[in-house]
Symmetry: C2
Subunit: 299 residues, 2 copies
Protein backbone atom coordinates (compact mmCIF):
# COMPACT_ATOMS: atom_id res chain seq x y z
CA UNK A 1 0.00 0.00 0.00
CA UNK A 2 1.34 3.40 -1.03
CA UNK A 3 1.34 6.34 1.33
CA UNK A 4 2.33 9.57 -0.37
CA UNK A 5 4.39 12.26 1.34
CA UNK A 6 2.66 14.55 -1.15
CA UNK A 7 0.78 14.20 -4.42
CA UNK A 8 1.82 15.79 -7.70
CA UNK A 9 -0.98 16.42 -10.21
CA UNK A 10 -1.01 17.49 -13.86
CA UNK A 11 -4.63 18.31 -14.68
CA UNK A 12 -5.25 19.19 -18.30
CA UNK A 13 -8.35 19.68 -20.41
CA UNK A 14 -8.61 16.02 -21.40
CA UNK A 15 -6.48 14.17 -18.87
CA UNK A 16 -5.68 13.85 -15.18
CA UNK A 17 -2.30 12.48 -14.11
CA UNK A 18 -1.23 12.00 -10.51
CA UNK A 19 1.96 10.82 -8.83
CA UNK A 20 2.42 9.61 -5.25
CA UNK A 21 5.66 11.29 -4.20
CA UNK A 22 8.02 10.09 -1.46
CA UNK A 23 9.73 12.31 1.07
CA UNK A 24 12.96 12.33 -0.99
CA UNK A 25 11.23 13.33 -4.22
CA UNK A 26 10.95 9.76 -5.52
CA UNK A 27 7.87 8.56 -7.41
CA UNK A 28 6.13 5.85 -5.38
CA UNK A 29 3.17 5.31 -7.72
CA UNK A 30 1.39 6.97 -10.61
CA UNK A 31 -2.09 6.91 -12.09
CA UNK A 32 -3.99 8.59 -14.90
CA UNK A 33 -7.57 8.98 -16.03
CA UNK A 34 -9.51 10.83 -18.69
CA UNK A 35 -11.34 12.97 -16.14
CA UNK A 36 -9.86 16.18 -17.54
CA UNK A 37 -11.10 19.67 -16.75
CA UNK A 38 -13.32 19.60 -19.82
CA UNK A 39 -15.52 16.90 -18.27
CA UNK A 40 -15.76 18.29 -14.73
CA UNK A 41 -17.69 20.95 -12.87
CA UNK A 42 -15.85 22.66 -9.99
CA UNK A 43 -17.38 20.35 -7.40
CA UNK A 44 -16.29 17.31 -9.41
CA UNK A 45 -12.53 17.81 -9.08
CA UNK A 46 -12.08 16.51 -5.53
CA UNK A 47 -14.07 13.30 -6.13
CA UNK A 48 -12.17 12.69 -9.40
CA UNK A 49 -8.86 13.09 -7.59
CA UNK A 50 -9.91 10.79 -4.76
CA UNK A 51 -11.09 8.15 -7.23
CA UNK A 52 -7.68 8.17 -8.84
CA UNK A 53 -5.36 8.76 -5.89
CA UNK A 54 -7.44 8.40 -2.72
CA UNK A 55 -5.67 5.20 -1.71
CA UNK A 56 -2.41 7.14 -1.37
CA UNK A 57 -3.88 9.47 1.27
CA UNK A 58 -3.55 8.45 4.92
CA UNK A 59 -2.94 11.55 6.99
CA UNK A 60 -2.72 15.22 6.04
CA UNK A 61 -1.45 15.32 2.47
CA UNK A 62 -0.28 18.18 0.31
CA UNK A 63 -1.52 18.15 -3.29
CA UNK A 64 0.23 20.39 -5.82
CA UNK A 65 -1.68 20.81 -9.09
CA UNK A 66 -0.69 22.39 -12.40
CA UNK A 67 -2.68 22.84 -15.58
CA UNK A 68 -6.23 23.72 -16.53
CA UNK A 69 -7.61 22.87 -13.07
CA UNK A 70 -6.52 26.42 -12.26
CA UNK A 71 -8.63 28.06 -14.94
CA UNK A 72 -11.79 30.01 -14.24
CA UNK A 73 -13.91 26.97 -15.10
CA UNK A 74 -11.60 24.64 -13.15
CA UNK A 75 -11.32 23.57 -9.52
CA UNK A 76 -10.31 27.01 -8.29
CA UNK A 77 -9.01 29.94 -10.30
CA UNK A 78 -5.28 30.57 -10.00
CA UNK A 79 -4.98 33.99 -11.66
CA UNK A 80 -2.36 34.32 -14.39
CA UNK A 81 0.97 35.96 -13.57
CA UNK A 82 2.23 38.38 -16.22
CA UNK A 83 5.48 37.90 -18.12
CA UNK A 84 8.27 38.81 -17.88
CA UNK A 85 8.45 36.80 -14.64
CA UNK A 86 9.85 33.60 -13.19
CA UNK A 87 7.87 30.57 -14.34
CA UNK A 88 6.70 29.95 -10.77
CA UNK A 89 5.90 32.38 -8.00
CA UNK A 90 3.61 32.87 -5.07
CA UNK A 91 0.82 32.73 -4.38
CA UNK A 92 -0.32 29.26 -5.31
CA UNK A 93 -4.11 29.20 -5.23
CA UNK A 94 -5.75 27.09 -2.52
CA UNK A 95 -8.54 24.83 -3.84
CA UNK A 96 -11.47 23.83 -1.64
CA UNK A 97 -11.63 20.22 -0.41
CA UNK A 98 -14.21 18.58 1.86
CA UNK A 99 -11.77 15.87 2.88
CA UNK A 100 -9.88 17.52 5.76
CA UNK A 101 -6.74 15.51 5.01
CA UNK A 102 -6.21 17.30 1.68
CA UNK A 103 -4.34 20.59 1.35
CA UNK A 104 -4.63 21.43 -2.34
CA UNK A 105 -2.74 24.24 -4.08
CA UNK A 106 -2.79 25.15 -7.76
CA UNK A 107 0.08 26.65 -9.75
CA UNK A 108 -0.88 29.88 -11.59
CA UNK A 109 -0.48 30.06 -15.33
CA UNK A 110 1.29 32.85 -17.22
CA UNK A 111 -0.17 35.57 -19.41
CA UNK A 112 1.25 37.98 -21.96
CA UNK A 113 -0.58 41.16 -22.93
CA UNK A 114 0.96 41.88 -26.33
CA UNK A 115 0.47 39.83 -28.35
CA UNK A 116 -2.19 38.24 -26.15
CA UNK A 117 -1.22 34.77 -24.99
CA UNK A 118 -1.68 32.41 -22.06
CA UNK A 119 -0.30 29.14 -20.71
CA UNK A 120 -1.35 26.79 -17.92
CA UNK A 121 0.84 23.81 -17.15
CA UNK A 122 3.79 24.64 -19.40
CA UNK A 123 5.11 27.15 -16.84
CA UNK A 124 5.58 24.18 -14.50
CA UNK A 125 7.56 22.26 -17.12
CA UNK A 126 9.68 25.34 -17.79
CA UNK A 127 10.38 25.62 -14.05
CA UNK A 128 11.29 21.93 -14.01
CA UNK A 129 13.72 22.47 -16.85
CA UNK A 130 15.31 25.49 -15.17
CA UNK A 131 15.76 23.47 -11.95
CA UNK A 132 18.31 21.33 -13.78
CA UNK A 133 19.56 24.07 -16.16
CA UNK A 134 19.72 27.08 -13.84
CA UNK A 135 21.73 29.28 -16.21
CA UNK A 136 19.75 28.47 -19.35
CA UNK A 137 19.44 31.37 -21.78
CA UNK A 138 17.50 30.49 -24.89
CA UNK A 139 14.21 29.14 -26.08
CA UNK A 140 12.06 26.29 -24.85
CA UNK A 141 9.68 24.68 -27.32
CA UNK A 142 6.86 22.59 -25.85
CA UNK A 143 5.09 20.88 -28.74
CA UNK A 144 1.58 19.58 -28.16
CA UNK A 145 -2.11 20.33 -28.60
CA UNK A 146 -1.30 24.00 -28.14
CA UNK A 147 2.45 24.24 -28.76
CA UNK A 148 4.36 26.87 -26.83
CA UNK A 149 7.62 28.67 -27.58
CA UNK A 150 9.09 30.54 -24.63
CA UNK A 151 12.08 32.83 -24.54
CA UNK A 152 13.83 32.24 -21.22
CA UNK A 153 16.62 34.41 -19.81
CA UNK A 154 18.02 35.02 -16.32
CA UNK A 155 15.52 32.60 -14.82
CA UNK A 156 12.52 34.42 -16.28
CA UNK A 157 10.07 33.81 -19.09
CA UNK A 158 10.58 36.91 -21.20
CA UNK A 159 7.91 36.25 -23.84
CA UNK A 160 6.06 33.33 -25.36
CA UNK A 161 3.91 32.31 -28.31
CA UNK A 162 1.29 29.58 -28.71
CA UNK A 163 0.18 27.64 -31.76
CA UNK A 164 -2.88 25.47 -32.37
CA UNK A 165 -0.79 22.94 -34.29
CA UNK A 166 -1.67 19.77 -32.39
CA UNK A 167 -5.35 20.57 -32.21
CA UNK A 168 -5.43 21.44 -35.93
CA UNK A 169 -3.75 18.13 -36.76
CA UNK A 170 -6.30 16.19 -34.73
CA UNK A 171 -9.27 18.05 -36.22
CA UNK A 172 -8.03 17.69 -39.78
CA UNK A 173 -6.90 14.07 -39.44
CA UNK A 174 -9.99 12.85 -37.63
CA UNK A 175 -12.86 15.10 -38.69
CA UNK A 176 -12.12 16.82 -42.01
CA UNK A 177 -12.37 15.57 -45.58
CA UNK A 178 -8.67 14.67 -45.30
CA UNK A 179 -9.50 11.77 -42.98
CA UNK A 180 -10.55 9.66 -45.98
CA UNK A 181 -7.04 9.67 -47.38
CA UNK A 182 -4.78 9.20 -44.36
CA UNK A 183 -3.02 5.91 -43.69
CA UNK A 184 -1.91 4.57 -40.33
CA UNK A 185 1.81 4.77 -41.11
CA UNK A 186 4.41 7.39 -41.80
CA UNK A 187 6.67 8.58 -44.61
CA UNK A 188 9.79 10.45 -43.48
CA UNK A 189 10.49 11.99 -46.87
CA UNK A 190 6.93 13.29 -47.20
CA UNK A 191 7.20 14.87 -43.74
CA UNK A 192 10.52 16.55 -44.54
CA UNK A 193 9.26 17.80 -47.90
CA UNK A 194 6.14 19.27 -46.35
CA UNK A 195 8.09 21.06 -43.61
CA UNK A 196 10.33 22.53 -46.26
CA UNK A 197 7.38 23.55 -48.46
CA UNK A 198 5.58 25.22 -45.56
CA UNK A 199 8.69 27.11 -44.46
CA UNK A 200 9.43 28.27 -48.00
CA UNK A 201 5.83 29.27 -48.80
CA UNK A 202 3.90 29.58 -45.53
CA UNK A 203 1.15 31.57 -47.25
CA UNK A 204 0.14 28.47 -49.18
CA UNK A 205 -0.97 26.46 -46.16
CA UNK A 206 -4.73 26.53 -46.77
CA UNK A 207 -4.23 25.36 -50.35
CA UNK A 208 -1.66 22.75 -49.42
CA UNK A 209 -4.11 21.10 -47.04
CA UNK A 210 -6.72 20.51 -49.75
CA UNK A 211 -3.92 19.38 -52.05
CA UNK A 212 -3.34 16.39 -49.76
CA UNK A 213 -6.87 15.21 -50.46
CA UNK A 214 -6.64 15.91 -54.18
CA UNK A 215 -3.32 14.08 -54.48
CA UNK A 216 -4.92 11.05 -52.86
CA UNK A 217 -7.93 11.10 -55.17
CA UNK A 218 -5.64 11.34 -58.19
CA UNK A 219 -3.41 8.50 -57.03
CA UNK A 220 -0.39 10.77 -56.54
CA UNK A 221 0.26 9.90 -52.89
CA UNK A 222 -0.05 7.07 -50.38
CA UNK A 223 -2.06 7.26 -47.19
CA UNK A 224 1.10 7.17 -45.11
CA UNK A 225 2.66 10.00 -47.09
CA UNK A 226 -0.57 11.96 -46.78
CA UNK A 227 -0.52 11.67 -42.98
CA UNK A 228 3.14 12.70 -42.82
CA UNK A 229 2.54 15.59 -45.22
CA UNK A 230 -0.35 16.92 -43.12
CA UNK A 231 1.86 16.84 -40.03
CA UNK A 232 4.75 18.41 -41.91
CA UNK A 233 2.66 21.26 -43.35
CA UNK A 234 1.31 22.15 -39.91
CA UNK A 235 4.62 21.88 -38.08
CA UNK A 236 6.31 23.77 -40.90
CA UNK A 237 3.70 26.53 -40.64
CA UNK A 238 4.37 26.72 -36.90
CA UNK A 239 8.11 26.95 -37.49
CA UNK A 240 7.54 29.70 -40.05
CA UNK A 241 5.51 31.68 -37.54
CA UNK A 242 7.90 30.94 -34.66
CA UNK A 243 11.03 31.78 -36.65
CA UNK A 244 11.92 34.79 -34.47
CA UNK A 245 11.96 32.38 -31.53
CA UNK A 246 14.35 29.79 -32.91
CA UNK A 247 16.52 31.46 -35.52
CA UNK A 248 20.05 31.63 -34.18
CA UNK A 249 19.00 30.58 -30.66
CA UNK A 250 19.72 27.77 -28.25
CA UNK A 251 16.56 25.66 -28.34
CA UNK A 252 15.45 22.85 -26.03
CA UNK A 253 12.38 20.71 -26.69
CA UNK A 254 10.15 19.55 -23.86
CA UNK A 255 7.54 17.08 -24.97
CA UNK A 256 6.46 13.56 -25.67
CA UNK A 257 9.20 11.48 -27.28
CA UNK A 258 7.58 10.98 -30.66
CA UNK A 259 6.37 14.53 -31.17
CA UNK A 260 9.64 16.06 -29.96
CA UNK A 261 11.50 13.91 -32.45
CA UNK A 262 9.43 15.39 -35.29
CA UNK A 263 10.19 18.95 -34.18
CA UNK A 264 13.86 18.08 -33.75
CA UNK A 265 13.98 16.66 -37.27
CA UNK A 266 12.20 19.68 -38.72
CA UNK A 267 14.57 22.09 -36.98
CA UNK A 268 17.62 20.00 -37.87
CA UNK A 269 16.66 20.39 -41.53
CA UNK A 270 16.94 24.15 -40.92
CA UNK A 271 20.43 23.65 -39.51
CA UNK A 272 19.42 23.92 -35.88
CA UNK A 273 20.55 21.40 -33.26
CA UNK A 274 18.19 21.04 -30.32
CA UNK A 275 18.38 19.64 -26.79
CA UNK A 276 15.60 17.40 -25.53
CA UNK A 277 13.96 16.98 -22.15
CA UNK A 278 11.24 14.56 -21.12
CA UNK A 279 7.89 16.22 -20.48
CA UNK A 280 6.91 13.96 -17.57
CA UNK A 281 10.20 14.49 -15.77
CA UNK A 282 9.99 18.27 -16.26
CA UNK A 283 6.42 18.34 -14.92
CA UNK A 284 7.45 16.43 -11.79
CA UNK A 285 10.50 18.60 -11.20
CA UNK A 286 8.37 21.71 -11.69
CA UNK A 287 5.68 20.55 -9.28
CA UNK A 288 8.38 19.79 -6.70
CA UNK A 289 9.75 23.31 -7.18
CA UNK A 290 6.24 24.75 -6.79
CA UNK A 291 5.79 22.79 -3.56
CA UNK A 292 9.06 24.10 -2.18
CA UNK A 293 7.94 27.61 -3.03
CA UNK A 294 4.56 27.08 -1.36
CA UNK A 295 6.03 25.76 1.87
CA UNK A 296 9.04 28.03 2.28
CA UNK A 297 8.62 30.74 4.90
CA UNK A 298 7.85 34.22 3.69
CA UNK A 299 10.98 36.34 3.35
CA UNK B 1 -49.41 18.61 -58.32
CA UNK B 2 -46.06 19.26 -60.03
CA UNK B 3 -44.95 17.31 -63.05
CA UNK B 4 -41.35 18.00 -63.99
CA UNK B 5 -40.16 18.14 -67.60
CA UNK B 6 -36.81 17.22 -66.07
CA UNK B 7 -35.22 17.28 -62.64
CA UNK B 8 -32.09 19.25 -61.75
CA UNK B 9 -30.07 17.92 -58.81
CA UNK B 10 -27.14 19.31 -56.82
CA UNK B 11 -25.88 16.45 -54.67
CA UNK B 12 -23.10 17.39 -52.28
CA UNK B 13 -21.44 15.65 -49.37
CA UNK B 14 -23.88 16.97 -46.79
CA UNK B 15 -26.91 18.08 -48.79
CA UNK B 16 -29.25 17.09 -51.58
CA UNK B 17 -31.11 19.78 -53.51
CA UNK B 18 -33.54 19.14 -56.34
CA UNK B 19 -35.58 21.33 -58.65
CA UNK B 20 -38.59 20.38 -60.76
CA UNK B 21 -37.91 22.10 -64.08
CA UNK B 22 -40.51 23.08 -66.65
CA UNK B 23 -40.14 22.70 -70.39
CA UNK B 24 -39.11 26.36 -70.77
CA UNK B 25 -36.41 26.17 -68.11
CA UNK B 26 -38.60 27.58 -65.37
CA UNK B 27 -38.43 26.24 -61.79
CA UNK B 28 -41.76 24.60 -60.90
CA UNK B 29 -40.79 23.40 -57.42
CA UNK B 30 -37.74 22.81 -55.28
CA UNK B 31 -36.86 20.63 -52.33
CA UNK B 32 -33.82 19.89 -50.18
CA UNK B 33 -32.75 17.32 -47.61
CA UNK B 34 -29.67 16.41 -45.63
CA UNK B 35 -29.27 13.07 -47.41
CA UNK B 36 -25.88 14.05 -48.80
CA UNK B 37 -23.38 11.62 -50.34
CA UNK B 38 -21.65 11.25 -46.98
CA UNK B 39 -24.68 9.47 -45.54
CA UNK B 40 -25.50 7.20 -48.47
CA UNK B 41 -24.28 3.95 -49.96
CA UNK B 42 -24.54 3.64 -53.75
CA UNK B 43 -27.87 1.80 -53.58
CA UNK B 44 -29.27 4.53 -51.33
CA UNK B 45 -29.18 7.36 -53.86
CA UNK B 46 -32.24 6.45 -55.91
CA UNK B 47 -34.50 5.98 -52.83
CA UNK B 48 -33.23 9.27 -51.38
CA UNK B 49 -34.02 11.07 -54.63
CA UNK B 50 -37.49 9.53 -54.86
CA UNK B 51 -38.24 10.47 -51.25
CA UNK B 52 -37.44 14.07 -52.07
CA UNK B 53 -38.67 14.44 -55.62
CA UNK B 54 -40.68 11.32 -56.44
CA UNK B 55 -43.96 13.23 -56.55
CA UNK B 56 -42.65 15.23 -59.53
CA UNK B 57 -42.16 12.09 -61.65
CA UNK B 58 -45.05 10.94 -63.81
CA UNK B 59 -43.69 9.56 -67.03
CA UNK B 60 -40.13 9.16 -68.28
CA UNK B 61 -38.08 11.88 -66.61
CA UNK B 62 -34.54 13.03 -67.18
CA UNK B 63 -32.51 13.72 -64.05
CA UNK B 64 -29.28 15.72 -64.36
CA UNK B 65 -27.03 15.57 -61.29
CA UNK B 66 -23.90 17.49 -60.36
CA UNK B 67 -21.69 17.20 -57.29
CA UNK B 68 -20.30 14.43 -55.13
CA UNK B 69 -22.90 11.90 -56.30
CA UNK B 70 -20.45 11.41 -59.18
CA UNK B 71 -17.52 10.43 -56.96
CA UNK B 72 -16.19 6.91 -56.65
CA UNK B 73 -18.18 6.42 -53.42
CA UNK B 74 -21.27 8.09 -54.90
CA UNK B 75 -24.18 6.94 -57.01
CA UNK B 76 -22.06 6.21 -60.07
CA UNK B 77 -18.56 7.40 -60.83
CA UNK B 78 -18.31 10.18 -63.39
CA UNK B 79 -14.56 10.23 -64.06
CA UNK B 80 -12.84 13.61 -63.81
CA UNK B 81 -12.05 15.52 -66.98
CA UNK B 82 -8.60 17.12 -67.05
CA UNK B 83 -8.04 20.87 -67.32
CA UNK B 84 -7.50 22.82 -69.47
CA UNK B 85 -10.99 22.01 -70.80
CA UNK B 86 -14.49 23.42 -71.02
CA UNK B 87 -16.30 23.18 -67.69
CA UNK B 88 -18.78 20.71 -69.18
CA UNK B 89 -18.28 18.04 -71.78
CA UNK B 90 -19.47 14.60 -72.74
CA UNK B 91 -19.87 11.99 -71.61
CA UNK B 92 -22.20 12.46 -68.69
CA UNK B 93 -22.17 9.30 -66.61
CA UNK B 94 -25.39 7.26 -66.54
CA UNK B 95 -26.43 6.20 -63.03
CA UNK B 96 -28.40 3.02 -62.42
CA UNK B 97 -32.07 3.34 -61.43
CA UNK B 98 -34.61 0.61 -60.74
CA UNK B 99 -37.50 2.92 -61.46
CA UNK B 100 -37.83 2.65 -65.27
CA UNK B 101 -39.17 6.21 -65.51
CA UNK B 102 -35.85 7.71 -64.41
CA UNK B 103 -32.99 8.47 -66.81
CA UNK B 104 -30.20 9.73 -64.56
CA UNK B 105 -26.96 11.33 -65.76
CA UNK B 106 -24.15 12.76 -63.68
CA UNK B 107 -21.87 15.66 -64.63
CA UNK B 108 -18.15 14.79 -64.39
CA UNK B 109 -15.89 16.84 -62.14
CA UNK B 110 -12.59 18.41 -63.19
CA UNK B 111 -9.07 17.45 -62.19
CA UNK B 112 -5.68 19.14 -62.41
CA UNK B 113 -2.46 17.18 -62.24
CA UNK B 114 0.00 19.86 -61.13
CA UNK B 115 -0.56 20.97 -58.49
CA UNK B 116 -3.03 18.18 -57.75
CA UNK B 117 -6.58 19.44 -57.43
CA UNK B 118 -10.16 18.35 -58.03
CA UNK B 119 -13.65 19.80 -58.15
CA UNK B 120 -17.15 18.29 -58.35
CA UNK B 121 -20.11 20.61 -58.65
CA UNK B 122 -18.28 23.89 -59.14
CA UNK B 123 -17.66 23.05 -62.83
CA UNK B 124 -21.44 23.19 -63.25
CA UNK B 125 -21.64 26.63 -61.64
CA UNK B 126 -18.78 27.81 -63.83
CA UNK B 127 -20.66 26.57 -66.89
CA UNK B 128 -23.77 28.36 -65.65
CA UNK B 129 -21.80 31.57 -65.32
CA UNK B 130 -20.30 31.23 -68.81
CA UNK B 131 -23.78 30.66 -70.26
CA UNK B 132 -24.63 34.26 -69.38
CA UNK B 133 -21.04 35.65 -69.77
CA UNK B 134 -19.85 33.82 -72.90
CA UNK B 135 -16.77 35.98 -73.45
CA UNK B 136 -15.62 36.05 -69.83
CA UNK B 137 -11.86 36.10 -69.39
CA UNK B 138 -10.79 36.23 -65.78
CA UNK B 139 -11.13 34.43 -62.50
CA UNK B 140 -14.13 32.87 -60.80
CA UNK B 141 -14.01 32.53 -57.04
CA UNK B 142 -16.48 30.08 -55.49
CA UNK B 143 -16.22 30.45 -51.71
CA UNK B 144 -17.51 27.62 -49.55
CA UNK B 145 -16.55 24.54 -47.57
CA UNK B 146 -13.77 23.95 -50.08
CA UNK B 147 -13.35 27.29 -51.83
CA UNK B 148 -12.29 27.24 -55.48
CA UNK B 149 -10.49 29.79 -57.62
CA UNK B 150 -10.64 29.08 -61.35
CA UNK B 151 -8.87 30.86 -64.16
CA UNK B 152 -11.27 30.91 -67.11
CA UNK B 153 -10.35 31.94 -70.63
CA UNK B 154 -11.83 31.29 -74.09
CA UNK B 155 -14.60 29.20 -72.56
CA UNK B 156 -12.19 26.86 -70.78
CA UNK B 157 -11.05 26.32 -67.22
CA UNK B 158 -7.30 26.86 -67.55
CA UNK B 159 -6.29 26.08 -63.96
CA UNK B 160 -7.80 26.10 -60.50
CA UNK B 161 -6.94 25.99 -56.81
CA UNK B 162 -8.91 24.78 -53.79
CA UNK B 163 -8.79 25.85 -50.16
CA UNK B 164 -10.17 24.21 -47.03
CA UNK B 165 -11.26 27.58 -45.67
CA UNK B 166 -14.92 26.85 -44.96
CA UNK B 167 -14.24 23.46 -43.42
CA UNK B 168 -11.45 24.93 -41.26
CA UNK B 169 -13.80 27.65 -40.04
CA UNK B 170 -16.47 25.12 -39.10
CA UNK B 171 -14.01 22.82 -37.32
CA UNK B 172 -12.37 25.66 -35.40
CA UNK B 173 -15.60 27.47 -34.54
CA UNK B 174 -17.53 24.38 -33.49
CA UNK B 175 -14.98 21.86 -32.24
CA UNK B 176 -11.73 23.55 -31.21
CA UNK B 177 -10.81 25.41 -28.02
CA UNK B 178 -11.81 28.60 -29.84
CA UNK B 179 -15.49 27.63 -29.58
CA UNK B 180 -15.54 28.78 -25.95
CA UNK B 181 -14.85 32.37 -26.93
CA UNK B 182 -16.99 32.96 -30.04
CA UNK B 183 -20.14 35.06 -29.90
CA UNK B 184 -23.16 34.77 -32.18
CA UNK B 185 -22.66 38.18 -33.78
CA UNK B 186 -20.18 39.92 -36.02
CA UNK B 187 -17.70 42.80 -35.89
CA UNK B 188 -16.88 44.32 -39.28
CA UNK B 189 -13.74 46.08 -38.07
CA UNK B 190 -12.37 42.89 -36.51
CA UNK B 191 -12.97 41.04 -39.78
CA UNK B 192 -11.24 43.71 -41.86
CA UNK B 193 -8.30 43.88 -39.46
CA UNK B 194 -7.84 40.12 -39.50
CA UNK B 195 -7.92 39.94 -43.31
CA UNK B 196 -5.30 42.64 -43.43
CA UNK B 197 -3.14 40.93 -40.78
CA UNK B 198 -3.30 37.58 -42.56
CA UNK B 199 -2.43 39.11 -45.94
CA UNK B 200 0.46 41.06 -44.47
CA UNK B 201 1.85 38.15 -42.41
CA UNK B 202 0.36 34.92 -43.73
CA UNK B 203 3.03 32.89 -41.96
CA UNK B 204 1.55 33.83 -38.61
CA UNK B 205 -1.76 32.05 -39.11
CA UNK B 206 -1.25 29.19 -36.64
CA UNK B 207 -0.26 31.65 -33.94
CA UNK B 208 -3.01 34.09 -34.74
CA UNK B 209 -5.63 31.40 -34.23
CA UNK B 210 -4.56 30.67 -30.66
CA UNK B 211 -4.30 34.41 -30.09
CA UNK B 212 -8.07 34.68 -30.57
CA UNK B 213 -8.58 32.41 -27.57
CA UNK B 214 -5.94 34.17 -25.49
CA UNK B 215 -7.39 37.61 -26.25
CA UNK B 216 -10.76 36.35 -25.04
CA UNK B 217 -9.35 34.94 -21.81
CA UNK B 218 -7.55 38.22 -21.14
CA UNK B 219 -10.63 40.34 -21.81
CA UNK B 220 -9.09 41.96 -24.90
CA UNK B 221 -11.86 41.02 -27.33
CA UNK B 222 -15.58 40.37 -27.51
CA UNK B 223 -17.13 37.12 -28.68
CA UNK B 224 -18.45 38.79 -31.81
CA UNK B 225 -15.05 40.23 -32.66
CA UNK B 226 -13.48 36.82 -32.02
CA UNK B 227 -15.83 35.16 -34.51
CA UNK B 228 -15.18 37.84 -37.13
CA UNK B 229 -11.43 37.64 -36.53
CA UNK B 230 -11.40 33.86 -37.00
CA UNK B 231 -13.23 34.27 -40.30
CA UNK B 232 -10.97 37.12 -41.36
CA UNK B 233 -7.75 35.25 -40.59
CA UNK B 234 -8.86 32.23 -42.60
CA UNK B 235 -10.20 34.21 -45.57
CA UNK B 236 -7.11 36.40 -45.46
CA UNK B 237 -4.89 33.32 -45.51
CA UNK B 238 -6.82 32.05 -48.53
CA UNK B 239 -6.42 35.38 -50.31
CA UNK B 240 -2.70 35.33 -49.55
CA UNK B 241 -2.37 31.88 -51.10
CA UNK B 242 -4.65 32.72 -54.03
CA UNK B 243 -2.96 36.04 -54.80
CA UNK B 244 -1.70 34.88 -58.21
CA UNK B 245 -5.33 34.22 -59.11
CA UNK B 246 -6.80 37.60 -58.24
CA UNK B 247 -4.02 40.15 -58.44
CA UNK B 248 -4.74 42.41 -61.42
CA UNK B 249 -7.54 40.17 -62.73
CA UNK B 250 -11.22 40.45 -63.43
CA UNK B 251 -12.84 38.46 -60.60
CA UNK B 252 -16.43 37.25 -60.22
CA UNK B 253 -17.73 35.62 -57.05
CA UNK B 254 -20.21 32.75 -57.19
CA UNK B 255 -21.54 31.80 -53.80
CA UNK B 256 -24.06 32.25 -51.06
CA UNK B 257 -24.99 35.89 -50.48
CA UNK B 258 -23.47 36.29 -47.03
CA UNK B 259 -20.19 34.50 -47.72
CA UNK B 260 -19.69 36.20 -51.09
CA UNK B 261 -20.16 39.56 -49.39
CA UNK B 262 -17.28 38.74 -47.01
CA UNK B 263 -14.97 37.85 -49.89
CA UNK B 264 -16.05 40.93 -51.81
CA UNK B 265 -15.27 43.12 -48.79
CA UNK B 266 -11.89 41.45 -48.26
CA UNK B 267 -10.95 41.91 -51.90
CA UNK B 268 -12.28 45.47 -51.99
CA UNK B 269 -9.88 46.29 -49.14
CA UNK B 270 -7.12 45.16 -51.51
CA UNK B 271 -8.41 47.55 -54.15
CA UNK B 272 -10.18 44.91 -56.20
CA UNK B 273 -13.77 45.34 -57.40
CA UNK B 274 -15.63 42.08 -57.95
CA UNK B 275 -18.76 40.97 -59.78
CA UNK B 276 -21.24 38.71 -58.02
CA UNK B 277 -23.42 35.86 -59.21
CA UNK B 278 -25.91 33.79 -57.25
CA UNK B 279 -24.78 30.21 -56.62
CA UNK B 280 -28.24 28.67 -56.97
CA UNK B 281 -28.91 30.41 -60.27
CA UNK B 282 -25.50 29.39 -61.64
CA UNK B 283 -26.09 25.76 -60.61
CA UNK B 284 -29.45 25.69 -62.39
CA UNK B 285 -28.06 27.34 -65.52
CA UNK B 286 -25.16 24.90 -65.52
CA UNK B 287 -27.38 21.84 -65.11
CA UNK B 288 -29.53 23.10 -67.99
CA UNK B 289 -26.39 23.46 -70.10
CA UNK B 290 -25.31 19.94 -69.11
CA UNK B 291 -28.73 18.59 -70.12
CA UNK B 292 -28.51 20.30 -73.50
CA UNK B 293 -25.09 18.75 -73.99
CA UNK B 294 -26.38 15.30 -73.00
CA UNK B 295 -29.30 15.38 -75.38
CA UNK B 296 -27.74 17.05 -78.39
CA UNK B 297 -26.89 14.67 -81.20
CA UNK B 298 -23.28 13.61 -81.55
CA UNK B 299 -21.44 15.80 -84.04
Amino acid sequence: MTRAAWIAVDWGTTHLRAWAMGAQGEVLAEAASDEGMGRLRPEGFEPALLRLAGSWVEGPTEVIVCGMAGSRQGWAEAPYRAVPCTPLGPPLAPAPARDPRLAVRIVPGLKQTRPPDVMRGEETQIAGFLASHPGFDGVLCLPGTHSKWAHVSAGEVVSFASFLTGELFALLADRSVLRHGLGPGWDEAAFAGAVSDALARPERLAGGLFGIRAAGLLGQTTGDAARARLSGLLIGAELAAARPYWLGRRVALIGAERLSALYAAALAAQGLATERADARAMTLAGLAAARALATEPAR
